[in-house]
């Protein structure tokens, strides 16, 4: 029997009745579903996972490597989709996120949940078949950690939400290394630690500026619970820890001269900008200092990983030690 394009059936689900979410029409644009995957985060995940694969002193079939990278990206996108499903009520009250597909009413929450779960299971299974089950297990852990541990539990209950939750964002290099070697090595672990320690100063710099919005949304970010001054001190502490940690690849032998230079200058700049955040506490100057740190932190991480990629991928590696 031919389908009748003008007719469809709508069914209600408890999920669709979550508060703060506008009623929606039947299905969104393809672009809305893509937006659910947080494409910018996916791009970052592809990048860091690729670096994790590149710094590993071993090789993988390029076809298997490319498919694995795609699955890691899809898995990360799926966790972002599940995060948007769960946080639709919070997203609806924050200016930065209120135009996302669910709070804007372009996609129903139930659709996003189905989409996220399907991609989660699919990406883990294909990664397991393509590479190995350790990397698939790590991807599954990342998805569960971000969607359940961070989004559903930590985000609304503790000011350490992004500190602990940062582990999810830090895992892709480790997954990349697991794809190549089938094991967890020093290189992947060090890159994990760098992203993990980088996360608090990065997010808290933004949270200092957006503290009012987080308060309205009921999210206990550090500036709202411990206060801005304590947050500024903690930002500096993490940056001081991050600067030498960023140089660890040099001492462990997989970061060369280019990386060492970028790590040294970038690490010092992170500390200097954190000092500015600590010193400028009032008015527009305070916001400007915080946003400068936020913006530079992205550049810093990008340059660190780009340096590793250039050295290991393009053969520009020149050892600093020995």
């Amino acid at each position: 029997m031919a389908a009748t394009p003008s007719m469809t059936t709508l069914s209600n689900s408890a999920i669709s009745d979550r508060p703060f979410v506008e009623a929606t029409t039947s299905g969104g644009e393809v672009a809305d579903y893509f937006a659910l995957l947080k494409p910018r985060v996916m791009a970052l995940v592809i990048f860091t996972a690729l670096v994790g694969m590149t710094v590993t002193p071993s090789h993988v079939n390029p076809v298997i490597g490319a498919i694995s990278l795609l699955m890691i990206a899809v898995g990360a996108g799926a966790s972002g989709c599940l995060n948007m499903w769960w946080d639709a009520d919070v997203d609806a009250v924050m200016t930065r996120t209120r135009t996302r597909p669910i709070p804007a009413g372009r996609i129903q929450p139930g659709e996003a949940l189905s989409f996220g779960l399907t991609l989660s299971v699919g990406s883990v299974l294909v990664l397991g078949l393509a590479a190995n089950w350790l990397s698939a297990g790590l991807l599954a852990f990342t998805i569960v950690f971000y969607a359940v541990i961070y989004s559903m539990w930590l985000k609304r209950s503790t000011a350490q939400n992004i500190v602990i939750g940062g582990a999810a964002g830090a895992l892709p290099p480790m997954i990349g290394q697991a794809v190549v070697t089938g094991s967890i090595g020093v290189e992947g672990t060090v890159l994990f630690l760098i992203i993990f320690i980088w996360t608090p100063p990065h997010f808290w710099a933004l949270a200092l500026v957006k503290a009012g919005e987080y308060a309205r949304a009921g999210i206990p970010m550090m500036p709202n619970t411990a206060g801005p001054d304590s947050t500024r001190r903690q930002i500096l502490a993490y940056s001081v820890l991050l600067a030498p940690l960023g140089l660890a690849p040099v001492f462990l032998g997989f970061g060369g001269m280019i990386y060492g230079l970028v790590g040294l200058v970038g690490g010092l700049a992170m500390v200097a900008l954190s000092v500015q955040v600590l010193r400028r506490r009032e008015g527009e100057a305070a916001n400007k200092a915080a946003m400068s740190l936020f913006g530079f932190s992205i550049l810093y991480l990008f340059l660190l990983f780009s340096a590793l990629l250039a050295e290991q991928g393009l053969g520009l590696f020149r050892p600093v030690l020995g």
């Binding site: 394009p5 003008s6 007719m7 469809t8 059936t9 709508l10 069914s11 209600n12 029409t25 039947s26 299905g27 969104g28 644009e29 393809v30 579903y33 079939n61 076809v63 298997i64 498919i67 795609l70 294909v126 078949l129 393509a130």
Partner: protein, 51 residues
């Protein structure tokens, strides 16, 4: 409670058509991925056999 039939607007029909095309493309990509993956896993020796 039984589902309630509802008339779709032309805009909704067009969106559904685009979604259907996107799903078809993803399925085709999956087929390609599994094919290429199988060949990559088997390796070049798959072609090395007596005729």
């Amino acid at each position: 409670m039984s589902p309630v039939p509802q008339q779709l607007t032309p805009d909704e029909i067009q969106r559904r058509r685009k979604r259907s095309i996107a799903i078809a493309m993803v399925l085709a990509a999956l087929v390609l991925i599994f094919y290429v993956l199988t060949i990559a896993k088997l390796g070049p020796q798959v072609l090395n056999r007596p005729l």
